[in-house]
């Protein structure tokens, strides 16, 4: 104290004195400050807060013992995930059809009106059968599942269950040289990979954050679920009774998701041994007490912040894609549409991967928005000039298996390709924004597309080798 009160001292003297005294503090003095802060806080808390035995707290502990238990933790997690998928598949079915009917009715009326006014067919076609139909498809296919999936997911988030998932799975991520919170960002990816990429901000180590960004695409997002669900219903669930079909479909989607998780871990492991070398860093995760979900807030955040946001972005992407599809399907050269020419050109390569040219064409057109893969495919197969609606299960079976030679191999490889292929344009743009590097955005495309080609090529070759297809 005397040093500071002496008036003859200049500020420089004080600084010099402090400099001299500082080494005497030693390394532990920060620890002592924090310890005394906590001590003081504890003292105040003890005086001000009275605790009685809290029943709810015991209840929390009992739930935690079950949902993270060595025996039940993982099965409960899988079951919850399957339940979310099942509710989404079953619940979205009818609203989807209603929306589609309404929107396509509007298209019919409008195009009819245009024709009646004497507007040339190609303007009507381009606007209504091209752009509008693309939008209508995306809205009717995406809106209902998202409006169900996101609130369900937000409930789990609000309850405090997601940190428990991260806790259950952390070991796997640690082995892969990644961060335990990657499980959280992966879960966000189910909704939308772009949202998952943004969510990686919770990871504080730059290396592990990059891993989480580059591998987020390996969980299928909502836009890709329709493809998976279609495959699951046409090829797997078709041989079951209608009652069991929805469960089988949800189970198949779950299986695909688990394959995606496997690839997430595998690619993380490879990345942390090659491009992004390093050890798993410090990981501390708070498991918050369970909270009663705030329904009002859930509806707001999941519908406005997520559903509408994601939908709006998809709409922006789908409109030009719809226009391109219409143009390709309606410009004829020597009696064949451009779409057919491109599909024929891509066919040998597609066959090599166990797919065909039409599927690859659909994926190229669908880079802006994965939702329109199935409608584009069906459009080219049926030779109509516009995207068409699913012509019912039986019709689909005859079309794909009977007329276009689909096999189980085609279904499996399409499923794998859908899971592994490059991120959609929005996700790529988000990766670029989040990493501020064109290099990492490119790497994300190369890894996913390379892996998709490699895996489908291997399964196709293997299947042909053993005479399976």
């Amino acid at each position: 104290m005397s040093v500071l009160t002496n008036e003859n001292l200049t500020p420089q003297d004080i600084l010099a004195k402090a400099q001299k005294l500082r080494p005497q503090l030693g390394d532990a003095f920060r620890d002592e400050i924090v310890t005394s802060l906590y001590g003081e806080a504890e003292r105040i808390a003890q005086r001000a807060v009275h605790t009685t035995k809290d029943k709810r707290w015991d209840f929390d502990q009992r739930i935690d013992r079950i949902v993270t238990s060595p025996v039940w933790g993982l099965p409960i997690m899988l079951l919850l995930l399957a339940a979310v998928f099942w509710i989404t598949i079953v619940g979205a079915n009818i609203p989807s059809q209603m929306l589609a009917t309404a929107l396509f009715w509007l298209e019919d009326k409008a195009s009819g009106l245009f024709t009646a006014w004497g507007i040339p067919w190609w303007i009507t076609g381009f606007l209504w059968h091209g752009i509008y139909r693309g939008l209508a498809w995306v809205v009717s296919v995406m809106l209902p599942p998202m409006a169900i999936f996101f609130p369900l997911f937000t409930i789990l988030e609000d309850l405090g269950y997601l940190p428990r998932v991260a806790f259950n799975l952390d070991f796997l991520f640690k082995k892969a040289g990644a961060h335990g919170k990657q499980a959280l960002t992966m879960a966000m990816g189910f909704g939308c990979n772009a949202a998952g990429v943004v969510a990686t901000r919770v990871i504080d180590s730059p290396r592990e954050r990059l891993i989480a960004i580059l591998t987020n695409n390996f969980v299928p997002c909502n836009g890709r679920f329709p493809t998976l669900i279609m495959l699951a219903t046409v090829f797997v669930a078709a041989s079951f009774s209608p009652v069991a079909a929805s469960f089988v479909a949800a189970g198949s989607v779950l299986a695909v998701v688990l394959i995606g998780v496997f690839f997430t871990l595998l690619v993380s492991w490879v990345l942390s041994r090659t491009l992004l070398k390093g050890e798993a860093s410090a990981f501390t995760l708070e498991l918050p007490p369970y909270r009663r979900p705030n329904i009002g807030r859930i509806v707001y955040t999941s519908l406005i912040d997520r559903t509408i946001f994601v939908l709006w972005r998809a709409v922006l992407m789908a409109a030009p894609a719809g226009a391109v599809i219409w143009v390709l399907g309606n410009i004829y050269v020597n009696g064949n549409s451009l779409a057919i020419y491109i599909a024929n050109f891509l066919n040998p390569f597609g066959v090599l991967l166990g797919l065909d040219g039409v599927i690859l064409l659909a994926y190229i057109i669908a880079i802006p928005a994965n939702e329109i893969v199935v409608p584009t495919m069906l459009m080219v197969y049926t030779g109509t000039g516009m995207m068409i609606d699913l012509p019912g299960l039986d019709g689909l079976r005859t079309l794909l298996i009977g007329q276009h030679g689909w096999t189980l191999l085609t279904a499996i490889n399409l499923m794998l390709f859908s899971l592994l292929h490059n991120p959609c344009a929005t996700t790529i743009a988000t990766i670029y924004k989040e990493t501020k590097s064109a290099k990492w955005a490119t790497v994300s495309v190369i890894i996913t597309l390379g892996l998709a080609f490699l895996v489908t090529f291997l399964t196709a070759s293997f299947a042909r080798l053993i005479g399976w297809a």
Binding site: P23, D31, Q61, D170, L285, E286
Partner: protein, 342 residues
């Protein structure tokens, strides 16, 4: 008479070429010279640091040692040494090199930059310890005095680098430090605390790290033969080759006497067994330590493992009413003492 246009073109070409070579800031000539000057400065700084290291160990530096360790060509050494002598950085006394006061000051500043960088890379960027030396060595020549000071302040004026070497302060003064004895001279059976690792040669240092030895760890030698040294911290056994063991430095450990044998890492605490935090390992610094402290893992805090998952790692611990999941490696950095259940 050649075409005037050709002449004009040739002149323009010549001028461009001259500019490319002799441009005062961007010309090849000036760049080469700057590059060579930078390379020469790096060599000089490496030599200064090497002499300083030797001096601190109480050894002299000969030309041969420099040629051998820093792999400089003898002719080049001669040239660099002349420059350094002319700048008043080193004195040649007999066959050995010694630092002048200026040289010593410069050498300390380079060591300071190097060790602060190492500290930053290890505790904030959390780079694996095997990698920090090379990176810091690259950075130490490129950082200005004021940047070093800013780094020092940002790190909270640390006293030691991640392998226990003292970091000089702004004035070039070294913090007081106990002098450690190499493990090879340590008496078997007496507990000793690790205060320093020698990080050269890198191969030996990597073996020390691979064994999992940490700064601040208290150990006993249980076997010392010409083939190997076996150490124990009461929990695990560590094996080192004698050449590697000579790079580990110990001081007598008063702490072990206080704790007795009942202090052990949190990672080996049984499920649901309450315990009291004794301290956080000395080797755990920077980001991770701050995180632990923020979570309230201060000495005296009561903690117990409450949740275990399928893989057995991480575990969730109850601390001050909240549940916090820690991986096994991190729980290994927190020392606890068992409490009797109430």
């Amino acid at each position: 008479m050649p075409d005037p246009i050709v002449l004009l073109l040739a002149a323009a070409l010549l001028f461009a070429l001259a500019l490319l070579i002799f441009h005062p800031r961007k010309g090849i000539f000036i760049r080469l010279r700057a590059g060579r000057a930078a390379a020469q400065r790096e060599k000089m700084e490496d030599i200064l640091k090497f002499i300083l290291d030797r001096q601190q160990e109480g050894r002299f530096t000969s030309n041969e040692a420099l040629i051998d360790v820093l792999s400089i060509h003898p002719n080049e050494l001669l040239r660099v040494r002349k420059t350094m002598e002319a700048q008043g950085l080193v004195r040649v006394e007999g066959g050995t090199l010694a630092l002048t006061a200026t040289g010593q000051q410069l050498a300390l500043q380079i060591a300071r930059a190097h060790r602060l960088w190492e500290r930053y890379l290890a505790t904030e960027a959390r780079l694996p310890l095997q990698k920090i030396h090379r990176e810091a060595h690259r950075m130490e020549h490129r950082i200005s005095q004021s940047e070093v000071n800013a780094l020092d302040a940002a790190l909270g004026y640390p006293l030691f680098d991640p392998h226990g070497d003292p970091i000089p302060n702004r004035a070039g003064e070294l913090p007081a430090k106990e002098l450690g004895k190499p493990l090879t001279e340590w008496e078997a059976g007496t507990p000793g605390r690790i205060i320093q690792f020698e990080d050269e040669p890198p191969l030996a240092y990597e073996q020390i790290l691979a064994e999992g030895l940490k700064l601040g760890q208290t150990l006993r030698v249980i076997e010392a033969t010409p083939e190997r040294y076996v150490l124990t911290d009461g929990e695990n056994e560590y094996r080192l080759a004698p050449a590697v063991a000579a790079n580990v430095f110990l001081v007598p450990s008063p702490k072990a006497a206080i704790h007795g044998g009942d202090v052990f890492p949190l990672a080996s605490l049984d499920d649901d067994q309450p315990a009291e935090v004794v301290n956080i390992d000395e080797s755990c610094q920077g980001f991770t330590r701050r995180r632990f402290l923020d979570l309230g893992l201060t000495p005296g805090t009561i903690i117990y493992p409450e949740l275990n998952n399928f893989f057995g790692d991480p575990r969730a611990y109850r601390v001050r009413g909240t549940l916090i999941a820690l991986r096994r490696d991190q729980a290994g950095m927190i020392q606890v003492r068992r409490l009797e259940p109430e």
